[in-house]
């Protein structure tokens, strides 16, 4: 598996897109510091970007990489290699290279501007960790979509729709149901709804870490009570890990049954 991981990783390391992604984050980091010199403020601005962008990039890169490495995959399938090894290796190679672009791209400006000396170091680390989680989650989902659709265009469409659903539409439905069922106690429901969307879960997790939960009003208080505790933290990290494990498990299942 390490060999496949290595080949996928270096294949990506040579591709133009990884550098563009890396440079984008690098530029973003420096611009943020140019606009506001405070590290903690930069972290909050960054949150909104990371929450939307890492899933989008994970989805697009995931689908693109799956379809464009089809030849590579077919070549590997005829070799004495396990199917699970091939797909998990490629998956890890892509996820790691994207996460590395994120961590290096944002890490360099933050380190230069003295994140180590500021109190925002934990929030920043948390942000990068969440970004990494989201990358792994959405690459797994898009690989799963790629394996399910032989047609490239269809797969691409479904993947983008999934991102759109989780990043935008889900929140809309969430809010709408909150307004419609305003008369009922909704805190448990809201908590559950959040768990079923990795983007929402990540957002809440960081907002609470940043101690700006007061902005969220009553629900914020409930969330703070839940997520603010160690128990809540462990639960949410477990759920995020499940969001990686479950799609990748389905991905392997699908890969084992597929004809090439």
């Amino acid at each position: 598996m390490l060999k496949i991981l290595k080949y996928s990783f270096f294949d990506l390391a040579r591709s133009r897109w990884s550098y563009i992604y890396f440079l984008f984050y690098l530029l973003l980091g420096f611009i943020l510091f140019f606009l506001n010199h405070e590290v903690s403020k930069a972290v909050i601005t960054l949150l909104n970007i990371i929450i939307i962008l890492t899933p989008l990039i994970g989805t697009i890169f995931g689908v693109m990489y799956y379809y464009s490495s089809k030849e590579f995959t077919e070549l590997l399938l005829a070799q004495p290699l396990k199917r699970t090894t091939i797909f998990i290796g490629q998956y890890l190679g892509l996820s790691l290279s994207l996460s590395l672009s994120l961590i290096l791209g944002l890490g360099i400006p933050f380190v230069l501007y003295g994140v180590f000396l500021s109190s925002a170091i934990w929030n920043f680390t948390m942000l990068l960790l969440i970004g990494g989680f989201l990358t792994f989650i959405f690459v797994a989902l898009s690989f799963l979509i790629g394996l399910s659709f032989n047609d490239k265009i269809k797969g691409f469409g479904v993947a983008i729709l999934l991102w759109l659903f989780l990043a935008v539409i889900y929140d809309g439905i969430f809010l709408l149901s909150m307004i419609l069922f305003d008369d009922y106690p909704l805190d448990k429901f809201a908590l559950a709804m959040t768990m079923f969307n990795p983007i929402d879960l990540s957002r809440i997790l960081i907002l609470l870490k940043l101690d700006i939960s007061a902005l969220l009003g009553y629900t914020g208080a409930v969330f703070q009570k839940f997520f603010g505790t160690n128990f809540g933290m462990i639960i949410s990290m477990t759920v995020l890990s499940l969001w990686i494990l479950v799609p990748s498990w389905f991905m392997v299942k699908k890969a084992l049954k597929k004809d090439f």
Binding site: Y7, D11, E74, L77, A78, Q79, L256, F260
Partner: protein, 235 residues
């Protein structure tokens, strides 16, 4: 030895293999013939485990290949379409496959033979179809596997390369290997094959020698013999 037992495969509503039973135990060159879409490639890919059959089993030297993977180090496979990662160079591709198989490989002589030396540093995406097929051949024959499977090996080759290919196939045969080959070029079949298997609509229609096929169809020419079978069955 390959034993195919009652192999069924359908893609959606299309039945490709309809319960194939076949035992191949003779060393030498076995030509697998059949019209387009008769299931030749599907059968080959099930042996390799790339296609998963709905029913039936394939035994390689007495062991089922289902859900196995390590047996593939006994097989050299030349795929029908030379699809390679576009942004790798020829050297990198060969190095990668060698690294992944961790077997003794003899690629230098083959590269020399097919005149690939000037292309070694070129990206695979920029190569012509014929050159890519030569790379494909090098990748297949650089390992010393007891079973060689060639799916349309002649596609895009110039006459010189074709002569080299035939020579290599014969050399491999001399080493006592089993070589499965699918092709639509009947001259090649007549020239090199020891056994002929004709697949029609996902079933084995004929299993024997070239002369056997000719006498069964009462034709003197292999191409006409095949055409006679097809016309009889689709008339």
């Amino acid at each position: 030895m390959i034993e195919i037992k009652n192999l069924y495969k359908s893609y959606g509503p299309v039945d490709v293999l309809n319960g194939i039973n076949l035992t191949l135990d003779q060393k030498g060159i076995i030509a697998i013939l059949g019209p387009n879409g008769s299931g030749k490639t599907t059968m080959i890919k099930t042996i390799l485990g790339m296609v998963i059959a709905q029913k039936g089993d394939i035994l390689l030297n007495g062991e089922s290949v289902k859900n196995k993977w390590s047996y593939r180090d006994q097989i050299s496979y030349l795929p029908q379409i030379a699809n390679f990662p576009q942004n790798l160079s020829v050297t990198e591709l060969i190095g990668m496959i060698k690294n992944l198989r961790t077997q003794q490989a003899d690629d230098v002589a083959l590269i020399e033979l097919f005149g690939l030396t000037p292309f070694l540093d070129k990206k695979l995406g920029t190569l012509s179809g014929g050159t890519r097929q030569k790379v494909n051949i090098v990748l297949t024959f650089m390992f010393d596997s007891p079973l060689v499977i060639l799916d349309e090996p002649t596609t895009g080759l110039d006459p010189v390369a074709l002569i080299h290919l035939k020579k290599i196939i014969n050399e491999e045969k001399q080493k006592g290997k089993m070589i499965l080959i699918t092709t639509h070029i009947m001259n090649l079949v007549e020239e090199i094959s020891d056994q002929v298997i004709f697949i029609l609509d996902g079933n084995i229609y004929f299993n024997g020698t070239v002369s056997g096929l000719k006498s069964q169809t009462k034709q003197t020419n292999l191409e006409h013999a095949i055409a006679a079978i097809l016309e009889k069955n689709h008339a």
